[in-house]
């Protein structure tokens, strides 16, 4: 194998340094690169400095997540689900589907509304989704969850005929 050209001095080989640090080089390339490093002060210095950088970055841990994060998220989801469907469709068009740098022009937005209207007319009704569930999956976590919910409802005395208002 040809001797490695120093990645510090040869920008075309710069990625090799990163690949070496990431342990992505194959075995023979690693051997050759380490052979190069043993005689290259610049690479040795760079590698040592990079390890220090990673140690420094390791020292930075974010704080804990707020306890009410999930609650706030589900409140927002709940609020959204109570909005009319066309509001949600419009929001989907202007946010989730669009790249961050793209600002839809009015004519394009209008065309999208017509497409959405056509989609809503043609979309399968919600009851069809239930009928289409044909798999018989034994889902461990869902079974556990259901057992837990049964216990919860029983513990809270919700096993009368009154049910729960939704």
């Amino acid at each position: 194998m040809e001797p490695v050209r120093c990645p510090i001095q040869n920008s075309k080989n710069a990625a090799m340094l990163l690949d070496y640090l990431d342990r992505r080089l194959d075995w023979s390339a690693t051997i050759e690169f380490e052979r190069h490093i043993s005689g290259c002060a610049a690479c040795q210095q760079t590698l040592a400095a990079q390890r220090e950088v990673w140690n420094a970055l390791d020292s930075w841990s974010p704080g804990p997540v707020s306890e009410d994060f999930d609650r706030r998220l589900f409140e927002r989801i709940g609020q959204e689900e109570r909005k009319p469907v066309w509001t949600r469709a419009w929001r989907w068009l202007t946010t989730a589907a669009m790249p961050f740098h793209f600002k839809p022009a009015m004519p394009l937005a209008a065309a999208c509304m017509v497409i959405v209207a056509g989609f809503l007319l043609q979309a399968p009704r919600e009851a069809d989704l239930g009928a289409e569930l044909k798999t018989e999956l034994l889902e461990v976590e869902q079974v556990e969850q259901t057992l837990g919910d049964v216990e919860m409802l029983r513990d809270l005395g919700v096993d009368d005929d009154a049910g729960i208002r939704l």
């Binding site: 709940g78 017509v114 007319l121 079974v143 216990e151 029983r154 513990d155 049910g163 729960i164 939704l166």
Partner: protein, 173 residues
């Protein structure tokens, strides 16, 4: 002018689009159910009911120790229920699945706090909760503001009873 053309298209799409869960005029607002949840919940309950001993053993054997003990205990609890009780709980499970997600999350958190209370107090709270659920909201508020109620229950217990009775407000009284 692009603006007026857009407004025409908007009006047209609004007129043509069939909103999911169309409302009857004058009917109380019900959150449109974009997601069919009932069959999934019922499916799981039916599956638990129909599990053969071998299936149940395979299920339990695959769980880590703590989860296996918990699941085993709950299976035994489930087995002890009458058919009638199971039927009523099945209805509750379906309604739980159809709850708005924020409400369901709130219920789970209240239940977690409920479980932190000593067992003897839990049975007292359970009885009180059942009574509160039978009351109309105004009567319930009156009961909870009474001296007797406040003297009987700690601040935490009052909070739990208030939250649970609100979340589990019955469909029928």
């Amino acid at each position: 002018m692009p603006g007026s053309g857009f407004l025409v298209l908007l009006a047209l799409s609004g007129a043509l689009a069939a909103p999911a869960g169309a409302q009857r005029p004058g009917a109380p607002f019900r959150s449109p159910k974009l997601i069919q949840k009932g069959p999934i919940a019922r499916k799981q309950l039916d599956r638990i009911e129909r599990m053969t001993p071998a299936e149940r053993k395979r299920f339990l054997d695959g769980l880590p120790e703590a989860r296996r003990r918990e699941a085993e205990r709950r299976f035994e609890q489930f087995d002890r229920m009458s058919a009638e009780q199971k039927g009523r709980l099945a209805k509750g499970i379906e309604q739980l699945e159809n709850m708005p997600v924020d409400k369901r999350l709130r219920l789970r958190r209240l239940y977690r706090d409920f479980n932190a209370i000593p067992a003897d107090r839990r049975s007292v709270l359970r009885g009180e909760l059942q009574s509160l659920r039978k009351l109309e909201p105004e009567a319930r508020a009156e009961r909870m503001n009474s001296d007797e109620f406040r003297n009987k229950y700690s601040a935490t217990e009052q909070r739990l009873l208030g939250g649970l009775s609100e979340v589990l407000d019955p469909d029928e009284r």
